[in-house]
Amino acid sequence: MLNKEQIQKTDAFFRENGVAYYDIRQELVDHVSEILEQKMNSNPSLSFEAAFDETVRRFSKKELVLLNEAAGFNYDPRKEWRYFTKQRILKLLLLYLAMVLPLYCLPPRAAMLTGILYVAGWMVFNGWLLFSFRKRHPAPDKKLSTYSHPSLFIALLPVLFQTCIVGRYVLKMTTVTPVHPAGLALLPFFMLFTTAAQLAHQHLKDQDYQAAKNNYPFLFHQ
């Protein structure tokens, strides 16, 4: 069995040669350690250094960088659909009806004001979703391919983009009179659709985070 220093040397080799993700590096360390142990067992006169040099020679830096990158592209967005259980779909439909009915029933002016209120509430809720997500997921010190912490700027971009679209739509509604109430039905639909997508995304990230925390606990407690 290799000692701590020998394992550290193996880990340092991969880290210095482009394997930044801890989880993939850890597997490579175990892999190479097994090869080294076998070599040293079958030839007791072979030193660790000689066995190490001989073993790591077959890894090119380019190959290791590619290996690291490939491990980081494994996020499967199709899994986000699992969030939409029958119960959640039903809740979303009920919420949609609860939001759209006042827009139909209220007089045009009041409907417009309600629409603006929805947009404001939607923006606040989306912002809160993003910030609370970051708060409950403190990033591990070292990177993991199984859980990469989302950048707030990247996460905020779609929200800003959506706000621009919705804002423009509401602005158009408030300046064009009379407003056809059917047009307002799209507003809650768009807001609920984007928020549900965000919730589904966060739900999957929550699961990834928990799995990473269970598999690599020490990275989260440093």
């Binding site: 290799l2 701590k4 993939i24 597997e27 490579l28 175990d30 892999h31 190959e63 290996l67 494994n74």
Partner: protein, 110 residues
């Protein structure tokens, strides 16, 4: 033609079959098992193995279990319930692929 290119598309069914037969395995163990089964004909490189294992894990086909070995940690892979279905499906696909090749290279046997 490079021989390893011919095997490339078969790596996934090979790994799934190994895991079906052996329960749980770790990366190095898989490479050694394949090497032994094929008498050294097929050598799986780390660059091909680990990205594939990680992808299968992300797709929910494999589940992992970590084991502390003292100075290092070992990651064991095993098939999930959907992984078992995927394994059965991949065997059918591989069989169909073999039959198609027979039609081209050995029509008398097909």
């Amino acid at each position: 033609m490079n021989k390893s290119n011919l095997y490339k598309g078969c790596l996934e069914p090979i790994l799934l079959k190994l895991l079906k037969e052996n329960g749980r395995m770790y990366g190095y163990e898989m490479t050694q098992k394949v090497k032994a089964l094929t008498a050294g004909e097929l050598k799986i490189t780390e660059g091909a193995l680990y990205p594939l294992l990680h992808r299968l894990e992300a797709e929910g086909i494999l589940e992992v279990e970590m084991e502390n070995l003292g100075n290092r940690v070992r990651k064991y892979y095993s098939l999930t319930a959907s992984g078992k279905k995927e394994q059965a499906r991949s065997m059918i696909e591989l069989e169909a692929f073999k039959n198609t090749l027979q039609l081209i290279f050995n029509p008398k046997l097909a």
